[in-house]
């Protein structure tokens, strides 16, 4: 019995040592909601987690526009060349970000902090919500509006129909008005403050105002003016604050580029919101790897031609401009041209001699400098900051909104667009001249621009395309201007008046030679050398599809042809996207619009 007693005692000890909460275990890497949303710090932690900034990839975003030829798989290009449907266009219908935003808006009010604090963070969240919905409206026009995080058992919400564009945009504008009124000015660097919010507010207002003015399919033309008015008012508000200035140190050949190749933009007077990069921080680097495009980023000649001359006159007014070679095209132009593209004589490090543009099928011959950091130092390359919102946009928004409202004066141009031209070192835009001499080239591009102010509107569109080339604005601009048809034009490359030798570096000495598709490229030791002793680079040229490297529009002369597949932009259908097919099966109340199936 003694043995059993010992054993019994042992059992008692084992059981006594068992705590009541033995089976409770808690995570240590996430937070229970009931413990959160108490302090300002909690609100800030959450709202900072909603931060979502465009980065240097934006330098590649113009691939969907007429600014670039690309071999990339671009949705709009595939739509224009293929047979798209709701079964093949399946991206974009992603709502998780809205859930994260609305979850905050459902909970922030629990915090035990002053109303001003709550409003600031709620303002930021509503700014993010506006940004989310703006993206949805651009893509789908009518989308269901949700102001709370949807619950899985709320079938009324889950299976709702699309809300009309006008309703959604009114809610977006109301979110932005709230944000503009309550977000603080002083916020952590790299996060939006009230001026960033207002910049976006003006952008959305301009987008929607011009969209409604030029698009007829939603029948909202008569509501355009109120949005344009908001755009100009908000822009004017930012301008009057005196907080921002165009970055101009009096060096027209460098100041513009400095916005895109600086290691630190946080104190730049023009940058309203920065996405900072710092390769020395763990995981902190980033670059636009393909900006100096090898195959997906080939600038279009049409864009090069849009830039003015250095004296402010139109390049398209120069006789024979459309038969200029590369070296000719870059002479005496708006200095922004050479800060956006590789120009004759530019030296690409680590080389010591000027860069000779190279060709391959699909290449236009032009190379993009904006977003490309001319260095072999990866730290420098990966630490270059990206300007998310530039004051330049505010100025152009202001001018365009007023012009579209028919209310613009020369003084408005002088406090806006002409500051940009001044930085570039070219004469300002003259309202009277522009209106009385509309550019015939631009008129054919934008046939729906008319009226007294048509001329200045066209010039503002030129300015916008030039100032923001390769920054991701162009596609949205074409959409809101109802100018989707321009996307049907297949971007062309450099012009070659004939086969033969060409100088590509601006020193008058030939660097490349175009030979006929029938001739053969001589062996290396028999290739011709130029007067500098450098071997010429040989290319065969011919018609599209010939076994050559350079396709010319006339076979042995003309502009480079990058593609021939015909493009068809269907108006208004291709301004929108279908809701993915599977979602319309899950919720039959979601109907396709604008002819999508």
């Amino acid at each position: 019995m003694k043995k059993l007693f010992i054993l019994g005692a042992a059992i008692c000890i084992v059981f006594a040592s068992c705590k009541k909460d033995f089976l409770d275990r808690y995570p240590q890497t996430s937070i229970a909601p009931q413990l959160f949303f108490k302090s300002e710090q909690d609100l800030s932690l959450y709202v900072n987690g909603l931060l979502d900034l465009p980065g240097k990839d934006n330098y590649l975003a113009d691939q969907s526009s007429d600014n670039l030829a690309t071999t990339g798989s671009i949705e709009i290009k595939n739509i224009m060349t293929g047979s798209p449907s709701s079964k093949t266009i399946t991206g974009g219908w992603n709502w998780s970000r809205l859930r994260n935003i609305n979850y905050f808006l459902d909970n922030y009010d629990k915090a035990e902090v002053a109303q001003e604090v709550k409003d600031h963070y709620a303002g930021l969240a509503r700014y993010y919500r506006a940004e989310f919905y703006f993206g949805m409206v651009k893509r789908y026009s009518d989308v269901p509006w949700y102001s709370h995080a949807t619950q899985p058992d709320d079938s009324a919400a889950l299976y709702s129909i699309r809300s009309p564009r006008s309703l959604v945009m009114d809610s977006v504008m109301s979110d932005l008005a709230f944000a503009a009124a309550h977000v603080r000015e002083n916020v952590p660097i790299g996060t939006p403050n009230v001026w960033a919010v207002k910049t976006f507010y003006a952008r959305v207002a301009l987008y929607e105002g011009t969209f409604r003015k030029y698009h007829t399919e939603s029948n909202l033309q008569n509501t355009a003016a109120q949005f344009l008015q908001t755009a100009s008012d908000v822009a004017k508000d930012i301008m009057s604050s005196g907080k921002f200035q165009i970055y101009n140190t009096g060096h027209p050949n460098q100041d513009y580029a400095a916005l895109f190749n600086s290691q630190d933009l946080t104190s730049n007077s023009e940058v309203i919101l920065v996405n900072a990069y710092d390769a020395s921080k763990p995981g902190g680097g980033g670059n636009a790897a393909n900006a100096f495009g090898d195959y997906e980023q080939s600038p279009a000649r049409d864009l090069v031609q849009t830039y003015l001359m250095k004296d402010g006159t139109r390049f398209s007014a120069v006789a024979g401009y459309d038969k200029f070679t590369y070296v000719q095209e870059f002479q005496n132009r708006d200095p922004r041209l050479s800060q956006t593209f590789a120009y004759p004589g530019w030296v690409r490090l680590p080389a010591t001699t000027p860069f000779v543009p190279y060709f391959n099928k699909n290449f236009t011959g032009y190379f993009q400098l904006k977003g490309y950091i001319n260095t072999t130092d990866n730290i420098v390359n990966n630490s270059t900051d990206f300007p998310v919102y530039r004051y330049a946009e505010v100025l152009l928004t202001y001018a365009e909104a007023l012009a579209e409202l028919g209310q613009i004066a020369q003084s408005d141009l002088d406090i806006s667009v002409n500051l940009l031209r001044a930085r570039a070192g070219i004469p300002g835009l003259d309202l009277a001249f522009a209106n009385s001499n509309p550019d015939p080239v631009l008129m054919t591009k934008y046939p729906n621009v008319s009226g007294t102010y048509g001329g200045v509107i066209l010039e503002l569109r030129r300015e916008r395309r030039v100032e923001f080339a390769m920054e991701g604005f162009r596609y949205d601009d074409l959409m809101r201007w109802d100018a989707g048809k321009l996307l049907e034009n297949i971007p062309q490359g450099m012009y070659f008046p004939a086969l033969g030798k060409y100088d590509m570096t601006g020193d008058g000495v030939p660097d490349i030679i175009l030979i006929d598709k029938g001739s053969s490229i001589p062996p290396e030791d028999q290739k011709e050398k130029n007067s500098l002793g450098k071997t010429l680079v040989y290319y065969k040229a011919g018609n599209f599809g010939d076994p050559v490297t350079i396709y010319l529009s006339n076979g042995t002369s003309g502009a480079i042809v990058t593609e021939v597949t015909p493009r068809s932009f269907i108006d208004p259908k291709d301004y929108y996207r279908p809701i993915p097919y599977t979602q319309t099966v899950l919720n039959p109340n979601l109907k396709q619009m604008f002819g999508w199936e």
Partner: protein, 1082 residues
């Protein structure tokens, strides 16, 4: 076998000599019965004097005393699990030591380790198999997993590649649950539940046996963690019987890759095929300049005619490359060495008869080398096990089992599987010796200079166990305490490396570099207390078990990372100048769980013929909310040993054993997220610099992973019926089991909800699954006499199959976009039916296939695959659901079916030989990605020889042919090929990143993934005793062995048949290993 017979002969000889000097008085003989190999005492052995009624049973320490008549006498000794034996006692002998030979594995007289006890195999009522440690110890394996593949029916081991030191997927009886597809069984080592990867730390030579519990009845005693079976691992115990022994084993191996995809290396063919592949698409990216073609042609015709690297003629500041390389040869070693050494000391104190003390001390060193040729890539284990058992009181036995181990993986930080991207036209090095600015050069540079990825796991586990016996050993109470502590250290470097961009232009990449250190600790504490009681009343025998178990487990990692190395030659975190980050989310992040359980078993046997057993366990788990935390998991099973019925006696000469088994059990599965029911806000690091730093942020709503109000165990109910049949005195044994396993209440999304919810629908215990399967095991064992020496052989064949079907899933529409559908068989492949290729434009216009065009942008041209329009609407469409499948139908199944293994051992005159085959008899595989499709995937990697059989509408003109390299024309690539295996050559046509075109499974390219692998062949030779005895050596065996020697497979012309478990074959190559080694016993 051979060795024991020799000993037996020696003993008989000894006995005979003793007889000659015998006296005449009747006397008492005292002796001890021991296991011949381990020298551990055997209690309960029956010792009978031949032709008399005198018999006794050996007691503690294996001791017995028996009275024998005068003169010589013969003792017969029998014990379950051992071969019976008779021995002659000399006439004046008073003392004897009897050594019993353990029966071969799988014989019905074996003792089988079961949960919290042992049973005779004949008495087992569930589906149980036992593997002896011996079969593991004599193969050159680096860890236990490698020895388990294909040896036990229903036990499935799947390796994802051949990287040393990896933990394979281990599974019993196939697809388990939609939430836990691998369905890892519970691993119990020496009675203590363990992690699957604990099998890696064990020295294979330390294993005494491994028992596989497959059905619910045998596993139920382990409750909620045993839903998908149990693996019981038992290590060897300390010795006894005042005998000391030393064993040493080793092997040295060389390995090389088994089967690798071998790409085309000819540069001209490569260029031209890629040019064509992209020229046939809107994205004519892979176009090459005329000078590149010239160069490629020269090197195609004569590789020595031109260097593979030279300054780029178009841009002399850069290198240009035109190689003809097979990168497999460059990056993989063909003679990668590995080694293994194991030594053990065991024995007992001389005073073994009263309070025996035994010890075992074993140590091993294992080095398993990877196949990486350029840099160190290996796995090491240092293990030490000390076991000490003693009886401080006559009724108490204490056993302390301590194991200390260190496992270290040392690999480059860059994954060598990047090799599959490398193109033959690249070069690895520039003429100046720098690494080339190509993918091959980058991989070479990263492997050699880019830093290391080291993982060290140091730990120890101590299991202290006390067994108290009462009532003449009828009642045994066992208590044990186990504590395991492990320290895991991950050291990851990202170091700068240099690439030569051009002549005199060598650039440093990743110049900042970074170091990351993770230290993680495991604390696992287990306490068990249980009692076994057995009693026999006449024909009735009853055994009872009741017990308590609790376990707590915690994994707590902390990671510190820092950038900006001071110098690449001192890659230490203290020698960095950049910013530091600290988190505890890497390596799985922090987690913890606790389990508390009560369990019991009743086993009733009537007349040794009818057996009834019931098991139950009441489990509580921290993974569930407190209101749904506890579950009761019962099982019941029975067996009938029909061959013991008298009416079966007439069959005895042939049918020696017939047994039927039946069982049913309901188990829970707690293998769900550790904190799944607690909704929390996830914390992360912002990807943006805020005030100059990456800050910790929240920013995500809690995921609705489960509904905490409706969340509990999934239930796994298994019915099992089985039979064991022995023929010809059990020389032939057959065992068959059939089972139905219902996995009910699996966590699944309640239903597919519209995407506007913004997150996936919360999961509920709402889905059901049924798995039906069977297992067959056949063995034959015999000993013949050949050339007057015994020839013994043993053959075993195992075969198993299972099929799983979703019986309930909330997907009323049956959509394919949801994870599962009701009625779906696991593994089924929905695809299109191939109908040849389009040959004319007219044909193309008659069938609308535009919906399956990858990226919506490729052109449908002659040579495009054509499909059968099953629904006859003139369009090829992928239906959204099984109710509206349009042109999709079930074309195959990717689940492995009919897994089999075959093992043959034979020995004769000191020579032993074994062959082990393993395979899968039926399995479909639809290839995706580069390794099959080459340029059809994307134009960024390789062309494989089989890709060259692509559709070519017309032959090239004589002029064009003249421009080609000879190899190109010889390969027939200039000729028309309209009856081709592959369609028109369009890159992205099989693009897995988009998932259309050829990436949609279809009948033509569905491959047969069945295989048979010669897993091992071993040839050994043991030196005869006449040679070794004089050196005091008990055994000396040399062996030669090959692992993964050969395979029979339809897909081996593409890749290794085992590598497809990831769907791509994108694996670290499997190893063919040849080794020599020895086993020495002193």
């Amino acid at each position: 076998m051979r060795k024991s017979r020799l000993i037996q002969t020696n003993l008989s000889l000894l006995a005979f000599l003793l007889i000659s000097f015998s006296g005449i008085a009747q006397r008492k003989i005292t002796g001890v019965v021991e296991d011949v190999k381990t020298n551990s005492p055997l209690e309960g052995a029956t010792i009978t004097v031949k032709d008399s009624k005198t018999s006794t049973i050996s007691k503690i320490g294996g001791q017995f005393t028996i009275t024998v008549p005068d003169g010589t006498a013969i003792l017969e000794i029998s014990f379950v699990g051992y071969d019976s034996k008779s021995t002659t006692i000399g006439s004046n002998q008073t003392n004897i030591e009897i050594k019993l030979n353990q029966s071969e594995n799988n014989q019905l007289s074996d003792v089988v380790v079961v949960g919290y006890g042992t049973q005779k195999k004949i008495d087992v009522t569930g589906a149980v198999d036992q593997i002896s440690g011996k079969s593991l110890a004599e193969r050159p394996i680096a860890n236990v997993f490698q020895g388990l593949q294909g040896v036990s029916p229903g036990l499935n081991i799947t390796y994802n590649g051949g990287q040393p030191g990896q933990t394979p997927t281990i599974n019993i009886r196939g697809f388990a649950s939609i939430n836990d597809q691998s369905g890892s069984p519970l691993v119990v080592i020496d009675g203590i539940s363990s992690a699957t990867d604990d099998l890696l730390r064990l020295n294979p030579s330390d294993i005494a046996s491994i028992t596989v519990l497959r059905d619910a009845a045998s596993a139920a005693i382990y409750g909620a963690r045993a839903a998908y079976g149990v693996l019981l691992v038992t290590t060897k115990t300390g010795g006894s019987g005042s005998r000391q022994s030393i064993s040493y084993s080793n092997y040295f191996a060389l390995s090389k890759p088994t089967i690798l995809p071998q790409p085309v290396t000819d540069p001209y063919i490569y260029l031209k095929v890629f040019e064509e592949a992209t020229a046939n698409t809107p994205w004519h990216y892979r176009s090459f300049t005329p000078s590149q073609y010239d160069w490629a042609k020269q090197r195609s015709d004569d590789p020595s005619s031109s260097p593979e690297v030279k300054p780029d003629p178009d841009d002399p500041t850069k290198w240009a490359y035109m190689g003809n390389n097979n990168w497999n040869d460059y990056f993989f070693s063909k003679t990668s060495p590995s080694q293994y050494h194991s030594i053990s000391f065991s024995g007992s104190s001389s005073d073994a008869h009263k309070m025996p003390m035994g010890y075992l001390l074993s140590a091993d060193y294992t080095e398993e080398n990877g196949l990486n040729k350029l840099t160190k890539d290996d796995w090491n284990r240092y293990g030490l096990r000390g076991r000490f058992n003693f009886s401080p009181l006559p009724w108490l036995k204490v056993d302390n089992n301590l194991s200390v181990y260190q496992l270290k993986k040392d690999a480059p930080a860059t994954n060598i599987t990047n090799i599959y991207y490398l193109q033959p036209i690249e070069a690895a090095k520039n003429p100046d010796g720098s690494w080339a600015n190509t993918d091959a050069g980058i991989l070479g540079a990263q492997l050699t200079d880019g830093g290391r990825n080291q993982q060290t796991r140091f730990g120890f586990q101590d299991v202290a166990r006390a067994v108290a016996s009462f009532f003449n050993k009828d009642l045994q109470i066992t208590g044990d305490v186990s504590f395991k502590r492990e320290l895991w250290k991950y050291h990851t470097e990202s170091l700068p490396y240099s690439l030569g961009y051009g002549p005199n232009d060598v650039r440093i990449q990743n110049a900042t570099g970074s170091i990351s250190e993770t230290n993680g600790t495991i604390n696992q504490d287990v306490v068990d207390l249980y009692a076994n009681y057995k009693k026999t009343f006449g024909d009735h025998a009853i055994t009872l078990l009741a017990g308590y178990n609790q376990e707590s487990y915690e994994w707590s990692p902390i990671t510190a990372s820092k950038t900006q190395l001071i110098s690449a030659s001192v890659p230490y975190i203290g020698l960095t100048t950049g910013d530091a980050t600290v988190n505890n989310t890497s390596q799985g992040g922090y987690y913890a769980y606790a389990i508390r359980s009560y369990f019991g078993r009743i086993n009733y046997t009537f007349k040794d013929k009818y057996i009834l057993e019931a098991n139950g366990r009441y489990d509580g788990s921290s993974r569930f909310p407190s209101n749904n935390r506890w579950g009761l998991f019962p099982s019941i099973s029975g067996a009938w040993i029909a061959s013991k019925e008298h009416f079966m006696d007439f069959l005895k000469p042939v049918l020696s054993t017939v047994k039927f088994r039946l069982s049913y059990g309901s188990l829970g599965n707690q293998s769900v997220a550790y904190f799944g029911y607690i909704q929390t806000l996830p914390v992360s690091q912002s990807p943006y610099l805020i005030d100059g730093n990456f800050q910790t942020v929240l920013g995500s709503a809690p995921s609705l992973s489960v509904d905490p109000n409706n969340y509990t165990w999934e239930k796994v109910n298994t019915k099992n019926i089985g039979t064991d049949i022995g023929l010809l005195d059990d020389k032939i044994l057959a065992s068959f089991d059939y089972y139905i396993r219902n996995t009910n209440g699996m966590l699944a999304p309640s239903q597919e909800l519209p995407a506007v919810l913004g997150t996936s629908a919360p999961q509920q215990n709402s889905a059901d699954l049924t798995t039906k399967g069977w297992e067959l095991s056949l063995s034959y064992r015999n000993t013949l006499t050949i050339a007057s020496s015994p020839f013994s052989f043993n053959a075993k064949f195992i075969l198993s199959d299972s099929k799983s079907k979703i019986t309930k899933y909330n997907n009323a529409l049956g959509t394919f976009s949801a994870a599962y559908r009701e009625g779906e068989e696991i593994g089924e492949i929905w695809g299109l039916t191939n109908d040849g290729q389009f040959t004319t434009k007219d044909e193309i216009s008659k069938l609308d296939q535009t919906e399956i065009i990858p990226w919506g942008a490729l052109d449908i041209v002659p040579g495009w695959p054509k499909y059968k329009d099953l629904d006859g609407n003139g369009k090829i469409e992928l239906g959204p659901s099984d109710k509206d499948s349009k042109d999709l139908s079930i074309i195959g199944n990717s689940s492995p079916r009919y897994r089999f293994g075959f093992n043959l051992d034979a020995s004769w005159k000191g020579i032993d030989f074994s062959v082990f085959l393993q395979g899968i008899a039926k399995m479909d595989f639809y290839p995706h990605h580069y390794l099959f499709w080459g340029p059809y995937q994307q134009p960024y990697a390789n062309v494989y020889p089989w890709n060259l059989d692509y559709y070519r509408a017309a032959s090239e003109s004589p002029a064009d042919r003249a421009n080609n390299s000879a190899a190109y024309n010889k390969a027939g690539l200039a000729d028309a090929n309209t009856n081709s295996y592959f369609p028109v050559l369009q890159s992205w046509l099989a693009d897995n990143n988009y998932g259309s075109g050829l990436d949609i499974p279809q009948t033509k390219y569905l491959l047969n993934a069945a295989y048979l692998r010669i897993k091992n062949i071993t040839l050994g030779y043991s030196l005869p005793h006449s040679v070794i005895d004089k050196f005091g050596i008990k055994r000396l065996r040399f062996f030669f062995s090959g692992e993964n020697i050969f395979e029979f497979s339809a897909i081996k012309k593409y890749l290794d048949p085992e590598s497809i478990s990831d769907g791509y074959g994108w694996e670290y190559p499997y190893q063919r290993k040849y080794s020599v080694g020895l086993n020495l016993d002193l």
